[in-house]
Amino acid sequence: MKILVPIKRVVDYNVKIRVKSDQSGVDLANVKMSVNPFDEIAVEEAVRLKEAGKATEIVAVTIGPEKAQEQLRTAMAVGADRGILVQTDQPIDLGGVEPLAVAKTLKAIIEKESPDLVIMGKQSIDDDSNQTGQMLAALLGWAQGTFASKLEIEDSSAKVTREIDGGLETISVNLPAIVTTDLRLNEPRYAKLPDIMKAKKKQLDVLDPSELGFSYEPRLNVVSVSEPEERKGGIKVASVDELIEKLKNEAKVI
């Protein structure tokens, strides 16, 4: 079984981002970039399937700037066999390459690669859209198992346990399918130094979007990006009694 894992280069989750003063976007100059955390979980799941003898090859794909090769190398250090970068200088967080365009690009790659399973993050922590997996499944006419906290491969299908608002739901999806990961699917490993070195020698192909027939014209015009309303911190209370008094008489919420 061949698994395709789309990944994205995003601001590291520990970074406190800053909005650009001209409100044109988020300042990404000199901030730490990482593999989107949900995509790390996707790579890990694919690697575990390979270790369990269920998968034979893992291909990591990303759409982004030249530097997104770093994220592909990270995925390869953890166990992806090779990487594909669809290189673009369009922004990939806001007002550039949007989820629908990503889904279309991935579809084109999937038609060449013919994977049996695609595992990808449920959302990227920059634009927080939570759309690409569902869109890709739609474009391919495949089943989707979104927000997965458990994945069991059977012969020609997979059982996916999904984290939903009411609890958990298990569905069965015919393969090939798209599975999107939630936080509890697994705990991703860290790459070991020798594997990081080995990953440098793995195959990494760079494609131009035009080779696949795409130019990235956003459908959503980002009019502005602004700071959220700052929530002012309040006071510290000295005791439980004072807390109750404040909640009753000042905030009037109990």
Binding site: V11, V26, L94, L100, I125, D127, D128, N130, Q131, G133, Q134, M135, L136, A137, A138, A143, Q144, T146, F147, S149, K159, E163, I164, D165, G166, G167, L168, E169, T170, I171, S172, V173, N174, A177, D182, L183, R184, P218, R219, L220, N221, V222, V223, S226, E227, P228, R231, G233, G234, I235, K236, V237, V240, L243, I244, K246, L247, A251, V253, I254
Partner: protein, 309 residues
């Protein structure tokens, strides 16, 4: 303007968030139609028809729709969408699962999780865990949108008298099928619409000790939430998670107990009216958003609070 809203329900009742989505639709303006998909969902369709500001209900009643599989519902939306300027769904796991599938089939770039409607084409949505707010204008002829319920007032559940139209479901896919569900049962109010939410974090320490959080919530008639760390550690089920990638809540009163206040957690609760934090680390970031902070060991403060309330 004409708006189609995908109603969320559990097979028995309409989810309250549907009323908030309709509230959002009234801000866009125009005719509001509700799509109810399910099996034996007539009573839900009738309930939808009696919501104020709804002018038509479209009922797709078929056994293949019982479990709300996206593969079955998305084609119905696609089929209906050409008659509408907007298609709205709640930004819940239900709406997030289905709507993008329909959007791709319609070749529309969906707008996720809107919090403000500027005009019929322009919307505000949080990005980067709510640390930035993007204003986006759509050039698609049909707009597909998921709505963050907590940012829009609900409409009245009564007062309407819409007609109910049947939609006949023609084809079923055999791409996916339902196997089982393990739903949390609770007498407590639903997390995203509760007036009071008490959440516990890693500081609570264990599943057993999480009972303290539950007791406090019960004392206040509130819902129970949690941080990701508490869910990952198995203290509570996944559906308790509040945050960027969990549920978004905005109650009158949010009490965070043993939660440090990571940005991913704040993304899900910083619109609460009053925030209380109980944490023994006086430098915990949660205090920077708390109206009332109590620096204390939770195992002293919470029992005392329960006793004195």
């Amino acid at each position: 303007m004409s708006i189609l809203i995908l109603a969320e329900h559990d097979g028995k009742e309409l989810s309250p968030v549907t009323l908030n989505v309709i509230g959002a639709a009234t801000k866009i303006g125009g005719d509001i139609h509700i799509l109810v998909c399910g099996k034996d969902c007539d009573s839900i369709a009738q309930a939808a028809a009696s919501i104020s500001s709804v002018s038509k209900v479209i009922k797709a009643d078929n056994e293949v729709l019982e479990h709300h599989l996206a593969e079955n519902i998305a084609p119905i939306i696609v089929d209906l969408a050409k008659d509408y300027t907007h298609v709205l769904a709640p930004a819940t796991t239900f709406g997030k699962n289905i709507l993008p599938r329909a959007a791709a089939l319609l070749d529309v770039q969906q707008i996720s999780d809107i919090i403000v409607i500027e005009d019929a084409e322009t919307f505000k949505r949080p990005v980067y865990a709510g640390n930035a707010i993007a204003t986006v204008k759509s050039s698609d002829s049909i707009k597909l949108i998921t709505v963050r319920g907590t940012n829009f007032d609900p409409v009245e559940a009564a007062g309407g008298s819409a007609s109910v139209e049947e939609y006949s479901v023609t084809a079923s896919q055999d791409l996916s099928s339902f196997v089982s569900a393990e739903l949390s049962e609770s007498e407590r109010p639903e997390l995203t619409s509760a007036k009071v939410v008490v959440s516990g974090g890693r500081g609570v320490g264990s599943e057993e000790k999480f009972e303290l959080i539950e007791q406090l919530a019960d004392k206040l008639g509130g819902a129970v939430g949690a941080s990701r760390a508490a869910v990952d550690a198995g203290y509570v089920p996944n559906d308790y998670q509040v945050g960027q990638t969990g549920k978004v809540v905005a109650p009158e009163l949010y009490i965070a107990v043993g939660i440090s206040g990571a940005i991913q957690h704040l993304a899900g609760m910083k619109d609460s009216k009053v925030i209380v934090a109980i944490n023994r680390d006086e430098d915990a970031p949660i205090f920077s958003v708390a109206d009332y902070g109590l620096v204390a060991d939770l195992f002293d403060a919470v029992p005392e609070l329960i006793e004195k309330l």
